[in-house]
């Protein structure tokens, strides 16, 4: 047996719960054979895979170095911690949890500042008046630098902050901050406001692959299998199964339904008896059901889908394209 396929998963908190639930839904049960405090694990029924439980920033670091094959971490950390991230890792898919925005926030008292252009002007005026630069407290040093540079802001300096960044302006250690926010409540509580065009990144937890990890035949096979399950689960969530017996001349009508309701027809057009199975996005289900009956269907049933295994594997395709590129 060669070196195992390693997947790094958050070890603590809500990220861990969400990640475990995410994998479990896709039939990839993470198990810790030596109990909950164990930082090494496996996936039930999937040999050759090692799960390592770490903090999100450690996971990001290992991804950047190619020390793990897959990892679950926030896009904010990927963009901040990995220099030239797209050459080192592949963001395979957003996982739908861990949402947070990285934003530029200034004191609410700055009634004259709404845009990055305002901030640019204020920064220059501040330097001329005080003979020092505006200080930005943040742990997102690289994101801040790139974003400020893209907006032409140069008269500032970064003060590295490792925790409670939102308190820096009140504490007098910085004039403004760049930080992560989900609801904005913490910012408001600290008398800060987000600049209108100051959203640097809309981040969420991602399944990330390391380009520089060892990707031999066996690693690709494991990745294909995992991504197949993850994709089938994702596709299962993205659709409802709609079944109906249609009246005659249904081909044109089905083409119409495809266009109007973004419906997919996984098993081909209706059988000789008029039975057809459709996959429909959840939001279109009721409209589709009305439409089918108007077109002569006797009854329409709708059911949740557990998994949809299709011939194509879009997530694996993305991985392969990324590894080749």
């Amino acid at each position: 047996m060669s070196a195992p396929f390693v997947i790094a998963v958050p070890a603590k908190g809500r990220l861990q719960e969400n990640a475990a639930r995410f994998f479990s839904r896709a039939g990839l049960e993470l198990i810790k054979p030596r109990g909950a405090r164990d930082y090494r694990g496996t996936i039930a029924g999937l040999g050759g895979v090692e799960v390592t439980f770490l903090s999100a920033s450690e996971i990001t670091e290992l991804l950047g170095q190619g020390m793990v094959h897959f990892g679950v971490t926030g896009e904010d950390l990927v963009r901040e911690m990995i220099l030239d991230a797209d050459s080192k890792v592949i963001l395979i898919d957003g996982l739908g949890f861990g949402h947070a925005n990285v934003v530029v926030a200034v004191p609410q008292a700055w009634i004259d500042v709404h845009s990055m252009a305002d901030l640019d002007d204020v920064a220059t005026a501040f330097r001329l008046k005080h003979n020092r630069k505006l200080r930005v407290a943040t742990k997102y040093i690289n994101l801040t630098r790139d974003f400020f540079s893209a907006h032409g802001v140069t008269d500032y300096r970064i003060v590295a902050s490792s925790g409670a960044t939102e308190g820096a302006p009140a504490a007098g250690t910085a004039e403004l901050i760049v930080d992560i926010t989900t609801t904005g409540a913490t910012l408001s509580a600290n008398a800060l406001k987000v600049i209108d065009d100051g959203v640097i990144l809309r981040s969420q937890a991602n399944l990330v692959a390391a380009r520089t990890a060892h990707w031999g035949e066996s690693e690709r096979a494991i990745a294909r299998l995992m991504l197949d399950r993850l994709a089938s689960e994702a596709r299962g969530r993205a659709f409802r199964e709609v079944r109906a017996r249609l009246a005659d001349n249904h081909d044109a009508m089905l083409a119409d339904a495809q266009k109007r309701f973004k419906v997919e027809i996984p098993f081909g057009n209706a059988t000789s008896s008029g039975m057809v199975t459709l996959h429909c996005p959840p939001g279109e289900v009721h409209a589709l059901a009305s439409f089918l009956r108007e077109q002569g269907a006797e009854a329409v049933t709708v059911a949740d889908l557990g998994y949809v295994f299709a011939r194509d594997n879009p997530l694996f395709t993305r991985l392969e394209a990324g590894l080749a590129g």
Partner: protein
């Protein structure tokens, strides 16, 4: 190359660099050797984040941020300010390693250079720096490098002479230092008043025509009624000032057409210093702009250069030429390999009259200097 051969080549190159600094000493500059490990603060505050990301930072057990010196200008200036001779005219020279992350070249590299601090005869000191810079390339066998010069002071004088809102002046001066081609940038420049919130437009319009003192008091009071006190280093007064400045700007959200044309005409001037000076005088006359002091300095500098035996017709001057660092305040120059074989400039420098004040000097101290990239010179220059 064997390692013994490498070492002997290094020794030869060291000798040549030592001889260069010895020539600086003979020209009256005191050799200094500032510490390699420097407090990071002055560099972070003065050089900007684009330098910071190239710096090698560390900290001591007390949490103080330190760095490997990314240049020698700030270390030499700080040592000078801490010395009993601070404020008096004094010239320094150095040869030492500096540390900056670079993509295609080693991040540890040798620089030799000069800092001339406290000299009141601006034009003569400027000319001397360029002359010594030319001696430096000649020392490495490159007697006719491409000479590019600029003068940040001319642009500052132009902007000061224009009838523009303070916000516009700040913006243009800042962008001059940071844009490679301000001329193109002018096209899309708009002032931030255009981004003012619609809900404020009415208030801003109402305040626009009112008595400035009263308006200022009103805004300050409103902020304090709202329970908003100063946070983050900007006082309520400063906030009110800029809020009202936006009101005063009113609808003037883009640069007036004729002003833009004038700035573009100004920035298009390039050529040898004598031709350029004549054109600048014409622009000043056409726009009835008071640029005399800056132009006199410019012409006087050219005179000193000629007196030092520099063939001024070989100098490529451009009004748009800047070195991208906001601490330069006047004359700037770069010397390049005329065949373009070197990665970047071989010698570069300029005047930074504001730097010593920003490092804590209570009175302004004029300063000018340059640095030479030793490895580039050794690799690209001809035989000794």
């Amino acid at each position: 190359m064997t390692s013994a051969a490498t070492r002997s080549a290094e020794r030869a190159s060291d000798k040549r660099a030592e001889a260069l600094v010895a020539s600086f000493e003979r020209a009256g500059y005191t050799r200094v050797a500032p510490a390699i490990l420097q407090p990071a603060e002055p560099f972070l505050d003065l050089s900007g984040e684009d330098i910071r990301k190239r710096m090698f930072l560390t900290s001591d057990p007390h949490g103080r941020e330190l760095c490997l010196r990314p240049d020698l200008t700030i270390p030499v200036s700080r040592d000078y300010l801490a010395s009993p001779g601070a404020g008096k005219a004094h010239g320094f020279c150095y040869l030492g390693h500096v540390f900056r992350h670079r993509q295609n070249e080693p991040s540890e590299f040798l620089q030799a250079g000069i800092e001339s601090l406290g000299r009141p005869d601006i034009a003569a000191a400027d000319a001397e720096m360029l002359a010594l810079g030319l001696d430096t390339t000649a020392h490495y066998g490159l007697s006719a490098p491409a000479i590019h010069i600029g003068d940040v002071g001319l642009f500052a004088a132009l902007i000061a002479a224009l009838d523009l809102a303070p916000a516009w002046k700040r913006r243009l001066i800042k962008d001059f230092n940071h844009k490679s081609s301000l001329a193109q940038d002018l096209e899309r420049l708009t002032i931030s008043a255009s981004h003012a919130r619609p809900e404020y437009q009415g208030v801003l319009a109402a305040l626009a025509g009112s008595d400035p003192k009263g308006a200022h008091a009103l805004v300050t009071d409103l902020l304090s009624i709202a329970g908003i006190s100063a946070v983050g280093g900007r006082s309520v007064g400063e906030i009110a000032d800029r809020f009202l400045e936006q009101a005063a700007l009113g609808a003037q959200t883009s640069l007036p057409r004729e002003t833009r044309a004038l700035i573009e005409r100004f920035l298009a001037i390039a050529g040898d210093p004598d031709e350029a000076a004549a054109e600048l005088r014409t622009i000043a006359k056409d726009g009835s702009l008071k640029l005399n002091a800056a132009l006199d300095l410019f012409e006087s500098r050219t005179g000193f250069l000629a007196a030092r035996g520099v063939d001024v017709r070989r100098i490529k001057f451009s009004t748009a030429f800047g070195r991208g660092l906001d601490y330069y305040t006047g004359f700037v120059f770069e010397l390049h390999d005329p065949q373009g074989r070197a990665e970047g400039q071989l010698v570069a420098g300029g005047r930074y009259d504001g730097l010593l004040t920003r490092l804590g000097s209570t009175k302004p101290i004029p300063a000018v200097g340059f640095a030479a990239w030793i490895e580039r010179l050794a690799a690209r220059g001809g035989a000794a």
